[in-house]
C-alpha cells in the first residue's frame, strides 16, 4: 500500500477536532503533490502513549512499510511536540521520528530550543511529512497557514548562513516569534551523520534525520506566529511556579547546569577511568579538558523557550579576525568527549572550534565523532591506509585534519564520502569486514556519549537495550554514579521501586534501574520535558511523574494515576520495540561492542573491568522479564494485543 493510501486510511480513523483542551492538530504534508490534510490524534492514543515521542510512534507504526528502505519518500518523517511543550518551564522539547538511514532501525531524536514550542503556537502538535518534493522546498507555517515555498535560494547553505538568510527574508524574529528546523549541505548530500538543526546548536541528531529530510527534498520548516495562551482545562500557571522553583532549587541546576552546563561530567568520567579515549582503546585522558578550563571561553549561558535553567554554554575563543567558527554555542559533554578524548585531542580551543563547525555543518557530533574515531583506529591498525583516505594521514590529536574531514564529509568529497556513510562503511564496501570488530556501535548507531560503560553495568545494559541504538539519553540510570545515592540503600530502593546493588560494577538488579529510567524518560519525552531536568537523570529531586500528572490534568484535563502515567512510558518503549521487530531487530541486537566484552578496561581505579558475556545475558533476560518482553525482546502477547488495540490495529 502506498503512503498516500496509508495516510488516507489513518486519517479516516482520526478525529477532526481537538480531543482535549490545548491539543493541536496533526498536519499531513505531501511534499510531492504539495497537499496538506489535518486531523487530531485520537484520545485513546493519547491515553496510551501521550504525545511527542509517544504519538510519533503511533504515526510511524501505522504508516511504516518495512518492505521499502529508510530514504524512500514513502517512509514518513514525523515531528511531534509534547503535551506540555511550550507551556511548562523546561518543557520545550519535541521529537523527530522515522526509519533511520544510518542505523537501519528506529530513528527517534529529541531537540529543544524554540521549534517544538513554536510549532504548537501555530496550532500543530505533529507533522507527518512524506513524498519527494519535485524541487527543494521550504515548508512555511505562518500563524497556522501552511504553504510550500521554493527553497532554491537556500540550497547549499549551512546553518549559520541559513539562519541569517531566513531572518532577513521571512519577517520574523528568532526566539520571539520564529523558529526553524532545517538541514545543511550534509543533509542535502544524504550524509548519514547529519541532523536537522533546530537552532544555532539544537539538533535532532541521532540516526541521520538530516539525510532523511534531505531525501524528501525538504530544506527547512519555518514557523512564524506570536506566542499565545492556550485554552486549558484548569489554570496551570500557579503550578508552573512550583515547577520552576523546584528546578531552580535543585543543587545540580543551581551549582552546575546553570553555571557551566554539561561539560562538568568530563571530570568524573575521567577520574573513574571511564572516559572513552581513542575509540575506547583507552579510558583516561587529560585534566586539561575539565569544565573549569572552558571558563575563559564562556561569555554566558543560553536557554530554550521558557526554560529558567539556561544550561547551554556559549563560547568565544577571543580570536581577532578569523572566520565564523571562533564563536558559537556549546559544547555539551557529548561533543567535548567525542571531539576531545575520542579523537585524541587535548586542546580546549580545538574542541570548541570543531564544535562550532559541527553546529554549522549540521552534524550529529555523537555519530560524526564515532565515525571519525573508528576511522582513526582502523588507520592506526593498518586496516585502511592513505590509499583509502586519498593521501590523508589519520593521526590521533590532529585537529586540523579533523576540521578538513568535516567539510569533506558535508559534501561527500573524497574520503569524506566514506565517513559520511558512518557505521555502514563496511556494508557499503569502504572498509574490510574486520573493521566491524572496532566499531563502537549498537544496532548500527555509534555511541552517543563518550562514557566507557565497561565499569557501570547499568549504563551498559541501557546502551544495549535502547530502542534507537547505542544511546544514553533513552534510559541511563545516571544516578549510579552518585555515591550519596549508592550509599543510601533505602532511598535507592525507593527511587527504583526495588533494590539495586550499590556497587557500580555489579550486575545485581541493575535491570530495575534501567527499567524505571526508561519509563520515566519516555514519559518526559512525550510531555516535552527536557531530559536534563527530569527526575532520575540528573537528580532525584527534579520534576517527575507527580509534576507531569498534575500539569497534564491542569492543561489537558486528562487524569492519569501515577501508575497509568508510568505505563504510558512503558507503552512507548513497547511500540518502539514492535517497530524495531518489523525492521528485523532481535534479542541478539540488544548487545554491546565486542571490545567491552573482550578487552578489559585498560586504566583507572577499575582497571581490568569488562562485561562478562554470561552475566550480561542473564541481566538482559531479567530486563526482558521485568519489562514484560518475550525472550526476543518484543512485548508479550497480552500487552502486544493491548498496544495494537490502542494503535487501532487490532
Amino acid at each position: 500500500m502506498a503512503i498516500r493510501d496509508r495516510v488516507a486510511r489513518l486519517i479516516d480513523e482520526m478525529p477532526r477536532g481537538p480531543q482535549f483542551p490545548s491539543q493541536g492538530a496533526t498536519l499531513f504534508a505531501d511534499l510531492e503533490r504539495r497537499e496538506t490534510r489535518v486531523a487530531y490524534t485520537p484520545r485513546s492514543v493519547t491515553r496510551a502513549v501521550l504525545a511527542g515521542r509517544g504519538a510519533n510512534m503511533y504515526y510511524l507504526y501505522r504508516l511504516l512499510d518495512e518492505t521499502l528502505s529508510p530514504l524512500s519518500p514513502d517512509i514518513p518523517l514525523i515531528f511531534g511536540s509534547g503535551l506540555l511543550t511550550g507551556l511548562v518551564p523546561s518543557a520545550a522539547r519535541g521529537n523527530c521520528t522515522s526509519w533511520s538511514p544510518e542505523s537501519g532501525v528506529l530513528l527517534d531524536s529529541n531537540a529543544g530550543d524554540y521549534f517544538p514550542s513554536f510549532l504548537r503556537m501555530n496550532g500543530f502538535d505533529h507533522l507527518v511529512l512524506y513524498g519527494k518534493a519535485a524541487a527543494w522546498t521550504l515548508l512555511m507555517i505562518r500563524e497556522g497557514v501552511v504553504t510550500f515555498e521554493e527553497a532554491a535560494p537556500y540550497v547549499g547553505m549551512d546553518n549559520l548562513d541559513m539562519r541569517d538568510a531566513i531572518a532577513r527574508d521571512m519577517g520574523g524574529t528568532w526566539r520571539r516569534n520564529m523558529a526553524m528546523a532545517n538541514i545543511t549541505r550534509a543533509g542535502e548530500n544524504l550524509v548519514l551523520t547529519s541532523g536537522i538543526m533546530a537552532g544555532p546548536k539544537a539538533i535532532y541528531a541521532r540516526g541521520g534525520p538530516g539525510a532523511k529530510m534531505g531525501s524528501l527534498g525538504l530544506k527547512a520548516i519555518v514557523t512564524i506566529a506570536p506566542t499565545r495562551e492556550f485554552p486549558t482545562a484548569q489554570p496551570y500557571k500557579p503550578y508552573n511556579r512550583h515547577i520552576a522553583q523546584k528546578l531552580l532549587a535543585t543543587s545540580v541546576v543551581k551549582n552546575a547546569l546553570s553555571t557551566k552546563g554539561t561539560p562538568f561530567l568530563y571530570k568524573p568520567s575521567r577520574l573513574l577511568g571511564a572516559m572513552g579515549t581513542k575509540n575506547n582503546q583507552e579510558t583516561t585522558w587529560t585534566e586539561g579538558l575539565d569544565a573549569e578550563h572552558f571558563d575563559e571561553f564562556r561569555p554566558g549561558m543560553e536557554g530554550c523557550f521558557r526554560c529558567p535553567v539556561n544550561c547551554r554554554p556559549l563560547n568565544d575563543l577571543h580570536v581577532e579576525g578569523g572566520d565564523k567558527y571562533n564563536k558559537g554555542d556549546g559544547p555539551e559533554y557529548v561533543t567535548l568527549g567525542k571531539f576531545g578524548p575520542n579523537l585524541g585531542i587535548d586542546s580546549v580551543a580545538s574542541v570548541i572550534r570543531l564544535n562550532n563547525i559541527c553546529n554549522d555543518l549540521g552534524f550529529d557530533t555523537a555519530s560524526t565523532g564515532s565515525a571519525l574515531g573508528w576511522a582513526l583506529e582502523l588507520y592506526q591498525r593498518g586496516l585502511i591506509t592513505t590509499a583509502h583516505t586519498g593521501g590523508i594521514e589519520l593521526k590521533w590529536g590532529d585537529a586540523g585534519t579533523i576540521e578538513k574531514l568535516l567539510f569533506m564529509m558535508a559534501t561527500r568529497e573524497g574520503f569524506g564520502d566514506v565517513l559520511a556513510d558512518s557505521t555502514r562503511a563496511v556494508e557499503k564496501g569502504h572498509y574490510p569486514a574486520e573493521a566491524i570488530k572496532y566499531r563502537i556501535a549498537v544496532k548500527g548507531l555509534g555511541q552517543s556519549d563518550p562514557h566507557d560503560a565497561r565499569i557501570l553495568k547499568a549504563f551498559a545494559l541501557g546502551l544495549a537495550v535502547a530502542t534507537r541504538g547505542m544511546d544514553h539519553l533513552r534510559n541511563r540510570a545516571t544516578l549510579e554514579i552518585n555515591a550519596k545515592i549508592n550509599d543510601n540503600p533505602e532511598f535507592k530502593t525507593s527511587l527504583y521501586g526495588g533494590p539495586v546493588s550499590a556497587e557500580p560494577n555489579s550486575y545485581v538488579d541493575k535491570e530495575r534501574a534501567v527499567r524505571k529510567c526508561e519509563d520515566i524518560y519516555a514519559v518526559g519525552d512525550s510531555v516535552g520535558m527536557c531530559r536534563f531536568t527530569t527526575k532520575l537523570f540528573n537528580s532525584p529531586s527534579l520534576p517527575g511523574l507527580e509534576e507531569f500528572q498534575q500539569q497534564l490534568a491542569n492543561v489537558t484535563g486528562l487524569q492519569f494515576s501515577l501508575d497509568e502515567l508510568e505505563r504510558c512510558g512503558r507503552n512507548v518503549m513497547g511500540v518502539e520495540r514492535m517497530i524495531n521487530h518489523r525492521l528485523g531487530v532481535r534479542r541478539s541486537d540488544d548487545t554491546l561492542p565486542d571490545r567491552w566484552f573482550d578487552e578489559p578496561n585498560p586504566g583507572g581505579p577499575y582497571k581490568g573491568e569488562f562485561i562478562d558475556r554470561g552475566e550480561f545475558e542473564r541481566m538482559l533476560s531479567r530486563f526482558y522479564e521485568l519489562s514484560q518482553l518475550t525472550q526476543e525482546g518484543v512485548p508479550q502477547e497480552a500487552w502486544r494485543k493491548e498496544l495494537a488495540a490502542a494503535l487501532g490495529t487490532k
Partner: protein, 84 residues
C-alpha cells in the same frame, strides 16, 4: 596528619579553593566532620548527591564514608552531573 581538600567553585564561598585538615582522620566520614569544624555548614552542603569525592584522583562511587585515608592524601570534591 595532613589531608588536603580541594573544592569546586560552587563551594568556594564557604571553603575557599582548598582546606587542609591537620587533625587525625581515619576515613572520609571523619574527614567531613573535621571539615565542618573548619567551615561550619559544609557537612550539610556535602550531603548532596551532586557531590562525589575523589581520593588521590580515584573517584569513589560507594562505601564512601568508610574509605580509609592516610597522611598526605589529596581529596577533591567533584560535582557529578549527567549530560547529553
Amino acid at each position: 596528619m595532613s589531608v588536603t581538600v580541594n573544592f569546586p567553585a560552587s563551594l568556594q564561598p564557604l571553603t575557599g579553593h582548598t582546606l587542609v585538615v591537620t587533625e587525625a582522620v581515619v576515613n572520609v566520614a571523619q574527614l567531613v566532620n573535621a571539615l565542618d569544624r573548619l567551615a561550619p555548614g559544609l557537612a550539610d552542603r556535602l550531603d548532596d548527591p551532586l557531590y562525589n569525592i575523589a581520593v588521590n584522583d580515584e573517584l569513589l562511587l560507594h562505601n564512601v564514608d568508610k574509605h580509609p585515608l592516610s597522611d598526605g592524601d589529596v581529596i577533591e570534591v567533584v560535582p557529578t552531573i549527567a549530560g547529553g
